[in-house]
């Protein structure tokens, strides 16, 4: 009986390892991390904003014609969070990495090379202008590469 249980356990572990191998180079969901705080585009921003503590600066932006609600913009040094208002709640719209003091959980930062990006996120991207667009569900990781180096990184969410 013990042997049978051990065999099942071994098969389970092997199965999990196989699944992990299949997903190498492709993350489950685009999540940005600041310390232990996970920041996921499209999710309610309140818990994240509270966990991150006071922002270095805060601003509000108009979100476009025909809409009088305001987007909230929180700057935390190396990165910025912009929220999208909907039904009296604010959802994370965009997370922008602003300089090389901050990197994505997969190690990409401003100044990384195009090869670094492809090694970290794979070749399943859409190319538009100078940008590489990685889509995962409704979250998107946008990376602008100019002259071989990353100049801009931002995550966003398709609210439509």
């Amino acid at each position: 009986m013990k042997r049978l249980l051990l065999l099942i356990l071994a098969l389970l572990v092997a199965g999990i390892m196989l699944v992990s191998c299949d997903n190498k180079g492709k993350v489950e969901k685009y999540v940005f991390k600041s310390g232990s705080v996970e920041i996921v585009p499209g999710e309610d921003s309140s818990a994240v904003i509270s966990a991150l503590g006071e922002a270095n600066s805060y601003d509000e932006e108009d979100i476009g014609c025909g809409n009088n609600e305001m987007a909230k913009v929180y700057n935390y040094g190396g990165f910025q969070i912009k929220t999208y208002p909907d039904n009296s709640k604010d959802f994370i719209d965009t997370v922008t990495i602003r300089d090389d003091t901050v990197s994505t959980p997969e190690g990409i930062t401003i100044g990384s090379s195009r090869d670094d990006v492809i090694a970290a996120y794979g070749e399943d991207y859409e190319e538009k202008g100078d940008g590489l667009i990685y889509k995962n569900g409704k979250t998107t990781l946008n990376i602008v590469v100019r002259d071989g180096a990353v100049t801009s990184i931002y995550y966003d969410y398709d609210f439509e």
Binding site: D62, G64, C65, G66, G129, N142, T151, S152
Partner: protein
Amino acid sequence: MRKEIKITIFAVVSLIIVAVLLHLCSLVLRPKYMSQPLEGALIAEYYGEVDKGRQHQVLFVGDCEVYESFVPPLLWEEYGITSYIRGSAQQLIWQSYYLLEETFRYESPKVVVFNVLSMKYGEPQKEEYNRMTLDGMRNSPVKHQAILASMTKEENIASYYFPILRYHSRWKDLTAEDFKFMFKRDTVSHNGYLMQTGIRPMEKSFAEQEAEAINKIYDPDLPATAFEYLDKMKELCKQNGAELILIKTPTNSSTYWWYDEWDAQIAGYAEQNGLDYYNFIENEAIGIDWQTDTYDRGLHLNVYGAEKLTKHFGELLVSEYGLESQQSDVGVSSVWKTKTEQYYKQKEEMERGQ
């Protein structure tokens, strides 16, 4: 036999009652746009104008940049030019095209002005914005085509003809406004111009905004679909004897940046097709002051900026396109005298209310 007739009559009457009730529910549930966002009321207002037989020398079509940038009562006051703006929030080029096609059924403007910012979109965008343009159009084959061209994947055409399918869940958000404006709505614009008197200065320079804008991903090529509709718009104007003018309003913010590559493509298209294109961004002759002439930090002009642009554009309409003043026409003058008075009255009220 008599029983069958009774059943038939009962069925028909029941159907009529259900249809009337559904229609009434639909009238209540549809958003009225009589308070914010007022933009949703703009497209339907046009019919009140043309049903009175009023014609216009100039027609503007496009997105928020047209209904916040040109002031028809001022164009009349300064130059005697009659005009209407068929603008709406995030109006896409195929919507501009179909609105133009519909407009030519009612009148024959000499000049059509199209703002090119929407050329950046080649696919349907947001349902809320579609509604603000399409729900206001009268039912017609043109509207049907506009709906087909505009629908996002999640939308279905039936909801445009039976609005209750779309708005049934609004019952819990109903306000007194929904009942007050169930049958008739107030006029919120001045021939399509939506007034804003607030002042919120632009905080970042154009150079700073450009730096932000070019760090976003954008396609340097404007979509082919947009050019197809621009071709159609050009042909439609030609068939109807109207001059098509392409413009880009002076507003330029990192959120809605007008990239140099796009500008070059529009300029090239205009040249190839014998059209005039005016890019008013950073045109000093207009005299826009970004500390006083915008209500939202440079996304749109306020009334003071719109008045400056209108005066500048009016001069062009007279000098380059030979539009003549209609002020000697007593009937037209009488109508526009009222419109001008209403414009200044609202401006004063809004300024006082701030």
